[in-house]
Amino acid sequence: MTSRLGRAYVALVLILLALPILVVTGVSLNGGQALRFPPQDPSFRWYGELFRAADWLGPLKNSLVIAAVASLISVAVALPLALHAWGRGGWLSRVLYTLGVAPFMLPPVITALGFLVFWVALGMYGQMAATILSHGIFLVTLPLVTISLGLRAIDPALLEAARTMGATRGQVLRTVVLPLVLPYVVSGYAFAFVLSLNEYIIAYMVAGFTVETLPIKIFNSLRYGYTPIMGVVSVLFVLLAVLVYGTIGVFGNLPRLMGADRVEDR
């Protein structure tokens, strides 16, 4: 049913989307300092440099620690909230759910400024813990949405069967519900992890001068001139995102996760 013209359009857009990434990949392979495309005396020199140069290794570590712990916090908040909203309903659940989704709907600079004044008031401004907690709350939306989707997909007959056979509420939750939503928990964690790695404004406002993350480091270096190492970070981030979403796509149902109800298994 899809016309050839339509397919051509989709292909063209995808090529345009890939174009900057292609150029950046080329740029990251330059042997020298200059950003040339096509690259001159191509080498992987700058890829090693990222893991050797101390001024890049620090931000890399910061970013990884923040993303790993913050996503864990997001899931720890989102899982009980999603379960509560699913199992009980009511206005309070709806309010909490809206609160959980809100950070993502608003321009992030507002949330960032909110966190800035909050941590200043608490005297934690500039600490890594502040960045981690801020990211943890900011990214709750992602696991919340994926886990809720997973819960809604559970067949009520399964719960009914478990109860009829005498399972207590705790047993039903532990042995039926949690295993069924586990894949959604994992994808929620992965989404939050990738986004935390890439997040700039909150990390910058909360502790930008003391806890440098990779995006902050790139932006700070942009002012002093471009080096191929920025291309390296960009390429690695793109690869990681493709890996994470690709894995979810292979093992899960990405179209359904994105809200399509009637995707045929073709």
Binding site: V13, P215, I218, L222
Partner: protein, 283 residues
């Protein structure tokens, strides 16, 4: 599950509830309080009730900033949604495998840091590594030149960032459309384009408007692209909020601007959600 024990224990809501109230609502409350606090030169602020932050809204400078932000965001929303609508309609008709692959690409681009998008687009439009180089090589221009920073570069970057978002916002309603409606139109002899404009488009009026608003708010929040790809006159409200908060140490004014932006964004997101719900009721 009516008339029987709920599936989850009641205490389960306490932890997330507390976390969100303490770490999300309270910061917003403090921000609102700071927006009316008195500015102290050199330091932070002193609690009080001073509306001078809000009064500065009436200045010509602020009016200009607001106009720039709204213009840039509205332009981005229009371009991104116009490009995304046909893309999404075609995407939803593809096989599951292809859809998954394209969604992976879209999600990857969407989660890219604004810094990286800014860096990539500015490299693409630079003198030595990008379009300028290619055009010169093709003989279309006399010599390679840079196309950044400029309004064109900024709009390119914002569209690049917003396009996947627009597709993902449009995807659920488009995927939920009954494919038989378009099929019926095609069987009765309508061309694909005519089917698109006379059957698909009208069915999607509410989601389209919702998507326009959401992409507008999304673009309104862009902070790094105006600095990397634009000139100072293209700085948006988000850039000025950070500038006031960090470099001018004027937290009350920054908070007042953020409170204003919050109100605008909340109102617009509310309208967008209402539009989505209306559509859901009718379906």
């Amino acid at each position: 599950m009516k008339g029987r024990e709920a599936t989850t224990p009641g205490w389960l809501g306490i932890l997330p509830g507390t976390a969100l109230v303490v770490l999300f609502l309270i910061p917003f409350g403090i921000m609102l309080a700071v927006s009316v606090a008195q500015r102290e030169t050199g330091g932070f602020y002193q609690w009080g009730f001073d509306l001078s932050g809000y009064q500065r809204f009436l200045s010509a400078f602020f009016g200009g900033v607001l106009l720039t932000s709204v213009g840039i965001a509205a332009g981005t929303a229009a371009i991104a949604v116009a490009l995304a609508l046909p893309f999404t309609v075609i995407l939803a008709g593809l096989s599951r495998r292809t859809q998954t692959a394209i969604l992976v690409v879209l999600l990857s681009v969407l989660s890219l840091s604004e810094v990286i998008v800014g860096f990539s687009v500015s490299t693409l439009l630079s003198q030595t590594a990008g379009v300028g180089n290619i055009l010169a090589w093709l003989g279309l221009t006399a010599e390679a030149r840079a196309y950044t920073p400029s309004l064109f570069a900024l709009m390119t970057g914002l569209t690049y960032l917003s396009f996947p978002y627009a597709v993902l916002v449009l995807y659920p309603p488009v995927a939920r459309l009954d494919p038989e409606l378009a099929q019926a139109a095609r069987t009765m002899g309508a061309s694909p384009l005519r089917t698109f404009f006379s059957v698909t488009m009208p069915l999607l009026r509410a989601p389209l408007l919702g998507a326009l608003i959401l992409v507008f708010v999304f673009a309104l929040g862009s902070y790094l692209l105006p600095q990397v790809l634009g000139r100072p006159e293209h700085w948006t409200l988000s850039v000025h909020i950070t500038d006031q908060a960090i470099y001018q140490s004027n937290l009350p004014f920054a908070a007042a601007m953020a409170a204003f932006l919050l109100l605008v964004a909340l109102a617009m997101v509310g309208v967008a959600l209402l539009l989505a719900r209306e559509k859901g009721d009718r379906a």
